[in-house]
Symmetry: C2
Subunit: 177 residues, 2 copies
């Protein structure tokens, strides 16, 4: 579903991948919608478990933690995901938020949750003087996340890491200064 989308993935695809009989899907989930909500929860927890050790690593300055997280995400997209898949929550927002308010809201809450630690880290970079005092930590976090999401759209279409690396350059050379 991460690769093929919600409507591009049938319950049959899911049970075939899991190696279980089709009927048993409904022992666990009332519907494919309930399945995607669980998948989004799992994605948020997974994302947090990857970001937390980096964003709380006090052996690095706050700005260097942000750079390390950004580089980590780029390398994961390039090496582990071969420039595919991207952010599961963003994919679901693009495909479904316009026609399913409930899923839109769940994705929005997921976005906010995933940004929480990053806001704290940017605020720390402001407080320690690594970046300008007139930076708004929440606005900047929101902006950076949207930059990254947009770069993933170009990544998918172009099968290239150019947009990801260009985003890193502008964010750290022009914005987090």
């Amino acid at each position: 579903m991460w690769l093929k989308g919600y409507n591009g993935t049938s319950v049959k695809d899911i049970v075939d991948e899991a190696g279980i009989p089709k009927g048993s899907f409904y022992n666990y989930f009332d519907s494919k919608e309930e399945f995607v909500i669980e998948a989004l929860n799992k994605f948020v927890n997974w994302g947090r478990s990857l970001a937390e050790p980096i964003l709380t690593d006090t052996s690095l300055s706050p700005l260097n933690r942000l750079k390390k997280l950004f580089d980590y995400k780029i390398e994961m997209l390039v090496n582990d995901m071969q420039l595919k898949k991207g952010c599961f929550a963003s994919n679901i927002a693009m495909e479904l938020a316009d026609v399913n308010d409930k899923l839109g809201k769940i994705v929005y809450d997921a976005f906010e949750e995933m940004k929480r630690m990053q806001v704290v880290c940017i605020q720390e970079a402001i407080d320690t003087g690594e970046i300008s005092k007139d930076t708004n930590a929440k606005d900047m976090t929101d902006f950076i996340e949207n930059v990254f999401r947009g770069a993933m759209i170009e990544m998918k279409a172009s099968k290239s890491d150019r947009a990801l690396r260009l985003s890193r350059k502008y964010i750290f050379d022009k914005l987090l200064v």
Copy 2:
């Protein structure tokens, strides 16, 4: 298809909307894939017809043309589209580029085509000294487009124009300077 996605729209949905019998779809298109390729062409031409008068309006400075285009796009998304739909090409990239290389390539070419006039306008802003000489017009255009695409993802999930307006602020206060 712009609203519901490729897999969320059946040939029946298309012919019902057009008010023609189902069989006649195949008089015009061999497949839904051929239909989406035609739709993408139409979208690019439509986008160009809207952007061209703004980006070539020599009564405004190049930077003010870019601002006017950005504001025009935001108002269209807010007022005409009610914070839905977004960019058809981006939606198709997100939903299909990972599993359909041909469509990914077509969307990528569409992206490049839609950016062409903007590169020229940014270069003019550089040449006339409105923005810094060390700006790279193509890189900056690519970055701005990706910012906008990412902001549309948040727009869809949040049903809010906040990400669009925040993007405008950062682009014109921090980047096109």
